[in-house]
Symmetry: C2
Subunit: 393 residues, 2 copies
Amino acid sequence: MQKFTYYTPTQVVFGKETELEAGKLIKKYGGTKALIVYGGGSVVRSGLLNRVKDALSESGVAFAEWGGVKPNPRLSHAQAGAEYAISEKVDFVLAVGGGSTIDTAKGIAHGAANPGTDLWDIWTKKVPLEKSLPVGIILTISAAGSEMSDSAVLTNEEIGKKSRLGTVLNRPQFAIMNPELTYTLPKYQIACGIADIMMHTLERYFIPNQHNRMTDEIAEGLLRTVIDNGRIAVNDGADYDAMSEIMWCGSLSHNDLTGLGRVKDFSVHKFGHALSAKFDVAHGASLTTIWGDWANYVYENDPERFQHYGKAVWGIETEDVKAAAREAIERTVSYFKEIGMPTCLSELGVGILDEETLKKLSLDATMGGTIELSHIRKLNVQDVYQIFCMANH
Amino acid sequence: MQKFTYYTPTQVVFGKETELEAGKLIKKYGGTKALIVYGGGSVVRSGLLNRVKDALSESGVAFAEWGGVKPNPRLSHAQAGAEYAISEKVDFVLAVGGGSTIDTAKGIAHGAANPGTDLWDIWTKKVPLEKSLPVGIILTISAAGSEMSDSAVLTNEEIGKKSRLGTVLNRPQFAIMNPELTYTLPKYQIACGIADIMMHTLERYFIPNQHNRMTDEIAEGLLRTVIDNGRIAVNDGADYDAMSEIMWCGSLSHNDLTGLGRVKDFSVHKFGHALSAKFDVAHGASLTTIWGDWANYVYENDPERFQHYGKAVWGIETEDVKAAAREAIERTVSYFKEIGMPTCLSELGVGILDEETLKKLSLDATMGGTIELSHIRKLNVQDVYQIFCMANH
């Protein structure tokens, strides 16, 4: 087991009607006026936004609003939100939504606490981030895990670049999780979330074995839980138990617990970020598009790890190590198909790409060819290109 | 899944030589002068105490010392420590040790932040606790889980009562965990720790099934991890991987993660606290002494839960539900014996007890017969007496 730090100070408040506690929690964490950040229609149509406003008013917490967050959220929208937050003199940011809304709220909190600083300079660490406004979450989509994570992703649309900021200041003060708020999601969005949760776990899992038994046990148990409950959820998005398990797994998959004691490897995310920055596709979908080909490209360097995964998660007892590894990959890809996720570029809906586009994507995924991806097998820009080609059908 | 709140703000710093970061961490959490709380010989003999003092001095953190913590720590020692902390004007409490030292440090922190208040009044909630000093931990025994928990237990020796205080103010600011610091523990103490970790998990697990798949997965994975690594550890207490897994499992078993979404049931702890308040026996040993008889007394009310446990943790495939349940109990009791833990009162070293003592213990475990224990089968004071009688050989 390698050295690690584990720090998840976010207070989780989980269960039915917990959104009604928002005002009380904002006050507990020192807020007197909150900027409510949200996306579009469903939060308004469902009446959730009004319920939240009422809850804040009842606790004597003032608020302003910043709606209009889009999937693959834009830097410019967060920057403008930060300026609005400053003008409205808010001291708290409340996200009501999923990963895009939460990441926008984190960006707004950083920008609002550092007036006059360009948000992209913070995001690219040109300017060190030393303070932020406190952030609270009301989660409506189980997927990104951003409600407990130290991570946030924004897209700088001017340069077509999707970039992640990791900082302890990204950990929210509280996360309200009511599984009933996810009942109205379309089936495809539920499936994208399931894929995202699985991928957060798989990315941390496929590292050469470094004797992390408990970390492995949590990851494997989480994958089994999400796989079984995912099947229920895509058929009935209003099954409370299934939606509860998926919601809680979404937070645990990305709060660090599933990767402690070993290096981090988010290589498939790099492929995915390149794809969704260019084509504006759903994050989870961009990951399942690539994972199978990535796995087939790297598994021969550590087939034992894939065999172990196959046995623990899929019950594969095959004794031949490489055959077991291939079976584990096949089962995973089949599951993605079963819940309706794409597993190649045409299924992602971007068609068959030309060589130039594939090369451009490979450069984007490797910071212009300057970094290698993956630990099981080091992937340079040519390897990344090969994997994109494998997925190009 | 029931409503729950999950809040574990303690920063875990895990790995070799992490104790050298103590001064830096105290400063990070606002401390300028720390009271170092510890037990006796080994922390001094091993040179750990001096290394810690040096680390504090290097970071410019002043300190005073409060040694002499005993197992089943005494209220009076914590109360005197709090008075010393006030006289020394410390603003931070650093525990260097295991559960007894940590719980004493928590008591000192509460007492020192509330001058003039009797610590027992705080412990019995006669006086509400609203503030405390920040606490940091350097863990040297994997067992109690107090390094991340909201719990602390002190014994009021004047009235012979061992009592638990649960409060968010019991969560330490940081917990330094270097598995190498546990290398020098005697085999029996390692085994007591393994038992304690298992029991923290089992107590949360044996609740009528309330659809908590992910919580169950974590609990079962944790038990498998501790059982396998426990076998290694009792034979070689200097196996880094085994001691790492046990240490991390110790924290996870008691930071709430293994019991989220269902009611809590610490009934065997109530038997155990009665035993160790009277006989000053090791906490883990007091629990294994009772668990098997407790399980045999209650399992027929929910044999499916015991069967599920047996399959997940011990690989028992027996189809007959009650037979499978009994087998699961037997395997658990056998494991306790295998690692050298007592499974009846004579093995605990208190001899065969007379009727009067057993009745007194039963009253102690049920607050004078005023409360019922367990959720699988409600146990009144007569039931508790029956279970003590079953263990009385």
